[in-house]
Subunit: 345 residues, 2 copies
C-alpha cells in the first residue's frame, strides 16, 4: 500500500488538496494518507516550521502531496527555506521536474500558439548551486557592508541530474538542451558542460544543444515549441520554469515534483501556484494544478497508466470549460475523479 | 569636441556601425572618432583581445561605440570576458542600461499588445555579483570535481546603481521595481533590500515595489506594461533584459549602454544583437539597434535634444516599413540621418 504524506498548507492549498485526494482515491485505490499540519498557521501558532520529529515521520512515506505554503503574516523566506527547500535538501530531491504544456482552453499570452504547440519539461537541479545557503555578510547595515552568495556544484550532483534528463529525453522526443552561462560562470559552467558532454556519449539517440541562460529565456518566449527537455542548474531552473509557466497560461495550471529518483527518501509533488489568500475559502480555486501534481506522483510511484489517465482527464476538464466562467473547486475534483474512474475501470 | 572610440568589431557589426556613424555625424556634428580594430579578426590574427595600450587609448575618449563582437572561430567566452566584460569592469561601467520599448512596426510574440504598451528600462548592475570571476574548480574533469562561483556584492556598488535607478524613475513615470531573490539569496538579497529601502526614503515621489526574479520573469511576459524602471543585479539583469528584448520583438532592435554615470571613464554603447556571421557582408543587416545606441550615447554626453531626435527618427523609420520587405542597411542609415538632420536644423 502506498503511504502518502499530505501537507495541505495554507489558503487555497487546503481546498485544492482535497480535490487532488479525490482523484488519488480512484487513481491509487486504498492508498494510506497522513495529514500534516505545516505552514503559516502552524508557524504562527507554535513558531515551528518543520520539527525534526515531523521530518522523520515524513521520511516514512512514499511521497508527499503538498498544497501551498505561505501567508503575508510570515516573514518572507522563513517557510520557503525552512520547509520547501529543507525537504528538497534533506530528502535529496535532486530532480526538480516541471512539465510545461499548453493545455486546450488555457490562454497563453503568446500570439499564434495553439494547444499542443508547447510541450516540454524542465529538469532543474534541486540540491546544489546557489540554493545551499553558503555565503555571508560583513558590516551588515553599514556603508561598508559586503555580501556574498556561493554557488556550490559537484560533478556527482551535476552528473546525476544530467543523466536523469537524458533518460527523460529518451522517453520523449529525444532532444535535450543544456542551459547555463558558460561564457561568464566559467567554473560551474565548465563542470556542467563536461558532465553533460560525457553523459551524452551514452545517449547517441538523444540530440543535444547548449544555450546560454539569457538566450534560453528569450527562446522560451519567441520559440517555445523548439524545446523538448531542458536541464539546468537550480537558480536558472527557478527562473526558466516561471517563464515556461507564463507562456503556457500562468502558474495556475502548472504542477511540479521535487523528486528523489532513487527513492531513498520521499519526493514532494505540488501545484506551482501559491496559497492565494485573496481567494481562499470561497471554493473558487482551480484544483487542476494540484490534480496535475498527483499525475507526477503516480508516475514516480510506477503507476504510469494512472498518471496518463489523470492527465487525460485534466485535459478534458480544461477543454470543456467555457472561457470566463467561474469554476467551483469541488465540482472540478468530482468531474476529474469520475473521468479517471471511468478510464481505469 | 566629443571624442568617440569606434569598435566596429565582427560580422554585421561593421555594417551597422557605419550607419550609426552617419547618424552621429548629423546629431553630434564635428565629433572626432578613432577606429579600433578589436574582436575576432584581431584575435585570430594576433592572439590579442584587448592590449593594455589599447585600453589606455580607449580611456582617453568620451564614449565608445561598439558594433558586435564574436565569431564561431573564437572559443566561447574569450572575447566576452576579455573585451566586453573587461571594459565594464576597467571603466567602472556600473549602470548597464537597457530600454525596452515596443516600436511601431515591430512584431512582438505577445498577443494583444500594441506599440506604446511596453515601455520600461532595466538598470542592471554591471561591476559586481556573479560576474567578477571569483570561484574555482578542484579535481577538474574527475568524478570528484567541484566548482564554485561567488557572487560578490558591496553596499557601495549596490547603492550607487540603486540611486541611478531612482533618478531615472523620477525622470520617467516614477515607479521603480527592485528584482532579486531575497527568499533564497538572503545575504546578497538582504544587502540589496537594505540599500534599496534606505535610498527610497530620499525619493518620496517614486513608488517602489519588490519582486522575486522568477515572478519578475513571468510578469515581463504576461504583464510587461506594468513596469517603468527595474533595478537588479548583474546576472538577473542579463536574463531579464533578454526576456524584455523578446517581448518587444527580439534583440534585433534593442540597444544598450554600459554606463559610467560619473564620467570617470568612457561608457560603451552598442546594439544588443551579435555579429550574425550568416548575413554579414550582404548589406541587409538592420542598423536601427546600432543607431538606437547612439541615442543612448548622446543622452550620456548631455545631448538629450539630439537623443530625442534620433529616437523619433528610428520610430518613423520602423513605422514606415512594409512588413516583410527586405531592408538595405545603407538606405536605412541615410533615411534616419536625413530625418535627424531635418529635426535639428
Ligand atoms: C519558494 C521558493 C523558495 C522556490 C524556489 O526558489 O525554488 C519557488 O520559487 C519554486 O520555484 O519552487
Ligand atoms: C556576452 C555576455 C558576456 C554578456 C553578458 O552576459 O553580460 C551579454 O549577454 C550581455 O547581456 O551583454
Amino acid at each position: 500500500m502506498s503511504r502518502i504524506a499530505v501537507i495541505p498548507g495554507d489558503g487555497i492549498g487546503q481546498e485544492v488538496i482535497a480535490e487532488a485526494q479525490k482523484v488519488l482515491a480512484v487513481a491509487l485505490p486504498g492508498y494510506e494518507s497522513t495529514e500534516y499540519d505545516l505552514g503559516a498557521r502552524r508557524y504562527n501558532r507554535t513558531g515551528e516550521v518543520l520539527p525534526d520529529s515531523v521530518l522523520s515521520e515524513l521520511d516514512e512515506h512514499d511521497a508527499i502531496l503538498l498544497g501551498a505554503i505561505g501567508d503575508p503574516s510570515v516573514p518572507p523566506g522563513v517557510l520557503e527555506r525552512g520547509l520547501l527547500l529543507k525537504l528538497r535538501f534533506e530528502f535529496d530531491q535532486y530532480v526538480n521536474l516541471r512539465p510545461s504544456r499548453l493545455f486546450p482552453g488555457a490562454s497563453s499570452p503568446l500570439a499564434d500558439v495553439k494547444p499542443g504547440d508547447i510541450d516540454f519539461v524542465v529538469v532543474r537541479e534541486g540540491t546544489e548551486g546557489l540554493y545551499t545557503g553558503a555565503g555571508g555578510n560583513l558590516h551588515t547595515g553599514s556603508a561598508a557592508e559586503i555580501a556574498t552568495e556561493e554557488s556550490l556544484n559537484t560533478r556527482y550532483g551535476t552528473e546525476r541530474v544530467v543523466r536523469d534528463a537524458f533518460e527523460r529525453a529518451r522517453r520523449r522526443r529525444g532532444h535535450l538542451t543544456l542551459v547555463h552561462k558558460t561564457n561568464v560562470l566559467v567554473h560551474a559552467g565548465g563542470l556542467w558542460k563536461r558532465a553533460f558532454d560525457e553523459v551524452a556519449v551514452e545517449y547517441p539517440d538523444v540530440t543535444t544543444e547548449y544555450q546560454h541562460v539569457d538566450a534560453a529565456a528569450m527562446f522560451l518566449v519567441n520559440r517555445p515549441h523548439t524545446f523538448d527537455v531542458i536541464v539546468t542548474d537550480n537558480l536558472f531552473g527557478d527562473i526558466l520554469t516561471d517563464i515556461a509557466a507564463a507562456v503556457t497560461g500562468g502558474i495556475g495550471l502548472a504542477a511540479t515534483g521535487s523528486i528523489n529518483p532513487d527513492h531513498t527518501h520521499p519526493s514532494t509533488f505540488e501545484p506551482v501556484h501559491g496559497s492565494a489568500p485573496d481567494i481562499a475559502g470561497q471554493g473558487v480555486a482551480d484544483p487542476v494544478a494540484a490534480i496535475g501534481s498527483t499525475a507526477l506522483l503516480l508516475e514516480h510511484l510506477g503507476r504510469a497508466d494512472a498518471a496518463v489517465a489523470v492527465n487525460a482527464a485534466v485535459e478534458r476538464e480544461l477543454a470543456g470549460r467555457e472561457s470566463g466562467a467561474t469554476i467551483r473547486t469541488g465540482e472540478v475534483g468530482d468531474r476529474v475523479a469520475a473521468d479517471v474512474a471511468g478510464q481505469l475501470s
